[in-house]
């Protein structure tokens, strides 16, 4: 009787372990061991900037709205290629998003020359163009080295996502994603 109970106990333990092991997510084959990645919902670094028109802003001013911080440069072709769609997106959600185009150019002249040439649509109220003096915001705060990169910040100014490279911005999926950040 005692032996039977011990045997039963062992079978139950083995069964429980099998169940537990089955429920545990198995590591993907040939993939490095997954570690807890950095939190996507970490607060964005605090920074302020001067727009190309001379007005001063701080990120905190945009609390309550979704903020897109786009790192670009006038010499970066993919950056320029995605501007029209970003401007359309800003137009489609005027009260919901603010786009900060943070130029990595060396001097203000490069930015103003660029805006003179391609500046149609940048005059919208929810679009700001600024230059990242010494690339401190991009490189020191956001660790952005390759352009374009866009950080999407939620209304609480926490980082919701980062988009690397040229993408389509004015899509249903993107608009839904931004709406979702309001918790609708």
């Amino acid at each position: 009787m005692k032996n039977a109970l011990v045997l039963l106990g062992l079978v139950l333990i083995a069964g429980a372990y099998t169940y537990y092991d089955g429920r545990k997510a198995l590591p993907q084959q040939n993939q490095p061991q997954a570690a807890d990645s950095l939190s996507h919902s970490a607060p964005a670094p605090v920074f302020s900037f001067t727009a190309i028109d001379g007005k001063k802003y701080s990120l905190e001013q945009f609390r309550g709205k979704v903020v897109l911080v786009n790192f670009w440069a006038s010499w970066c072709a993919p950056c320029v290629a995605e501007f029209p769609q970003m401007i359309e997106l800003a137009g489609a959600l005027p009260d919901k998003i603010v786009i900060v185009f943070m130029s990595q150019d060396d001097g203000d002249k490069a930015v103003t020359d660029f805006l003179k040439k391609h500046g149609k649509g940048f005059e919208q109220g929810n679009i700001l163009v600024a230059r990242d003096e010494g690339q401190k915001i991009a490189k020191d705060l956001f660790q952005t080295y390759k352009l374009p990169e866009t950080y999407i910040l939620g209304p609480d100014l926490h980082i919701a996502d980062k988009v690397v490279g040229l993408v389509e911005w004015n899509t249903d999926q993107m608009r839904s994603k931004i709406e979702a950040l309001y918790g609708h």
Partner: protein, 613 residues
């Protein structure tokens, strides 16, 4: 490649060769996480593994691996003069013979560069055909390549001893006296590129047409480009976790993070703490160093569990398996002493040493389970360590029943010898991730543990049988051992038979067939068949007592063949277990065992004929 890198490293602020830096506190530094060989481990383990690869040791000239790593990362100009590489055949590379056979990177790199053609040709050939000299050359080439990467892992944040054109310094607002680094250069990279393009537009590609200022700018741009390129593909030092998309499970080196798109504010802040550590190290500011390392560790705890890293550093520091093997050895001497001078206290002391050794041994295995987050046996090394524990525990159980010191003797011998054997595989033990087919906790904890427990019980049965034969051969009564031998052989049969069947089920799930006459499967079956044969032949009376005990004693050979021998065949699906270099040891073991068992059998036969027994 190596010579160019050496040149580049020399551009980095040069410091005359000196002794080790004043002692800094590496307590927090050694716990910082790094992804290496597919898993997150503390820097301590990483440093030991790389140092071991280069020098064959886990400390250098009395200094720990952590201090060595810190110097390599933060003071590479000093590190490249440090005698590090152990070279067994210096003549191969035209290097002079040296006491200690330790050579610095500064000595090795040019020597390897001179052999670049040979190395390139060897890379095109099958390594199975390499001679010992060629193998040594490639070992050194690999180690130097790895070390080169490590030396440059942090070079973007280190001061550069490079002449900067005044016009650029003024334009980039770099104060005099402020150290210039690649990281600062990266902020102005585009502007420099535009300046150079403007010069080329005006005056073309021929530097002879440039004025002094233009020439300085062009030269500076070229140097910076070389330094920047040297950092590309530098991926060994993965200290930054990915943050985005599909690649977030991977970690990234400081160089790679810039190009990967995996940068994030969190990573930027963490990397800044690393840069603070670099600054503190260079100034040898112990307080700043301790503070930066502590802040980095606190930050790292935000994205990786701290407990396994801490446990691993303790495991590395204590080396519990070495302590256990020493205790087993001490227990062995105590038991030998006990056999000459029987005394309760001696037996108690031997039991205490064996028991404490077993506790440390079990704790080491438990620590590895936590660290690796998987069952304890996944590699050949781990199987030897686990089998050793099974043997010691079984022997302690035997001693509890018999209370005559025989269990202690079996435990001390098996524990010492097996942990000694494990040491020969220890070089391969960097606690790396397992190959995909093994990476399943369920089967590792059932089939593999079952089979290895079977090996352990087989070894205990075999040792008891040896003891029986030795005692009998020397005319001492040993019949009291027979019931133990039979019981333990039956337990061994149970574990090996169940383990073999479970292996078949696993094979069916993984490879789509239950049985494929794979050498490893045949080896496991061989143990089962040997035990079945010996036990049944004894029960049916076909084997007399001495041949039966000899057959059980010969289990050691059968187990050795199944455990290590089949790996030498280099065929079959169990390719993760292939080993080289043990053929001679295995052959010696089998020969010695055969001679020993033959001699004992012969002596017992002679004694019997003489009627002595």
């Amino acid at each position: 490649m190596t010579a160019r890198t050496l040149l580049l490293l020399l551009i980095v602020l040069f410091l005359p060769y000196k002794g080790w830096a004043a002692e800094l506190d590496y307590t927090d530094f050694r716990q910082l996480p790094v992804q290496h060989e597919g898993r997150i481990k503390p820097l301590d383990t990483f440093a030991r593994a790389i140092l071991d690869l280069c020098s064959g040791r886990q400390s250098l000239h009395g200094t720990g691996a952590d201090a060595w790593l810190a110097e390599t990362l933060f003071d590479p100009a000093q590190a490249l003069h440090r005698p590090l590489f152990r070279i067994f055949r210096p003549g191969l590379l035209g290097l002079p013979e040296k006491a200690g056979r330790s050579y610095s990177y500064a000595e090795l790199a040019p020597a390897l560069q001179a052999k670049a053609d040979v190395i390139a040709r060897l890379l095109q050939t099958d390594e199975k055909n390499w001679t010992e000299d060629q193998r040594e050359l490639m070992r050194l080439s690999d180690a130097a390549g790895l070390y080169t990467q490590l030396l440059r892992s942090f070079s973007f944040a280190l001061p550069l001893n490079i002449v900067m054109p005044d016009s650029l310094a003024k334009e980039w607002k770099l104060d005099e006296g402020k150290t210039f680094t690649l990281e600062i250069y990266r902020h102005h990279q585009q502007s420099l590129k535009e300046r150079v393009q403007a010069i080329i537009r005006r005056k073309g590609n021929d530097p002879a047409r440039y004025n002094e200022s233009e020439r300085q700018i062009a030269q500076f741009a070229m140097n910076m480009q070389i330094l920047e390129q040297a950092g590309q593909n530098n991926s060994i030092f993965r200290i930054l976790p990915g943050a985005w998309g599909d690649a977030k499970a991977e970690w990234w080196s400081p160089w790679a993070i810039a190009d990967s798109g995996q940068g994030s504010p969190e990573n930027a802040a963490y990397l800044q703490l690393w840069q603070d550590m670099a600054g503190a190290y260079q100034k040898q500011d112990a307080t700043a160093w301790r503070g930066a390392a502590h802040r980095a560790l606190v930050k790292a705890k935000g994205f990786v569990p701290a407990a396994p890293l801490q446990l691993e550093t303790v495991y590395n520091a204590l080396s519990p398996l070495t302590l256990a093997s020493l205790l087993y050895l001490a227990a062995f001497f105590a038991v030998v002493f006990y056999s000459f001078k029987t005394g309760k206290n001696i037996r108690l002391a031997a039991t205490g040493m064996l028991g404490t050794g077993a506790l440390l041994h079990a704790a080491a295995i438990a620590a590895r389970i936590v660290i690796l987050d998987r069952p304890p046996v996944g590699t050949l090394y781990e199987s030897v360590v686990f089998v050793a524990l099974i043997c010691v525990l079984a022997a302690l159980l035997l001693e509890k029943i018999g209370k005559d010191g025989q269990g202690l003797l079996i435990g001390a011998i098996s524990g010492t010898v097996l942990l000694f054997v494990a040491q020969s595989f220890a070089a391969e033990d960097t606690m790396k991730m397992l190959v995909a087919v093994l990476n399943t906790n369920f089967w590792l904890s059932t089939h593999v543990l079952c089979i290895t427990m079977g090996y352990g019980w087989c070894i205990v049965a075999s040792l008891l049988a040896h003891l029986y034969l030795v005692k009998t051969a020397f005319g001492k009564a040993a019949d009291d051992l027979l019931p133990y031998i039979k019981t333990i052989a039956l337990v061994a049969l149970l574990f090996t038979a169940v383990g073999t069947i479970l292996g078949g089920i696993w094979a069916d799930q993984s490879w789509g067939r239950f049985w494929g006459w794979d050498p490893k499967e045949n080896g496991a079956l061989l143990i089962v068949l040997w035990l079945l044969w010996a036990l049944h032949a004894r029960i049916s009376g076909n084997l007399k007592r001495i041949p039966y005990v000899t057959a059980i004693a010969a289990l050691s050979v059968i187990v050795a063949l199944a455990w290590f021998g089949v790996n030498l065949l280099n065929v079959g699906l169990h390719s993760y277990g292939f080993i080289s270099g043990v053929a001679a040891a295995l052959f010696t073991f089998i020969t010695v065992e055969a001679m020993l068992l033959g001699a004992l059998y012969y002596r017992i036969s002679v004694l019997r004929k003489q009627g002595t027994r």
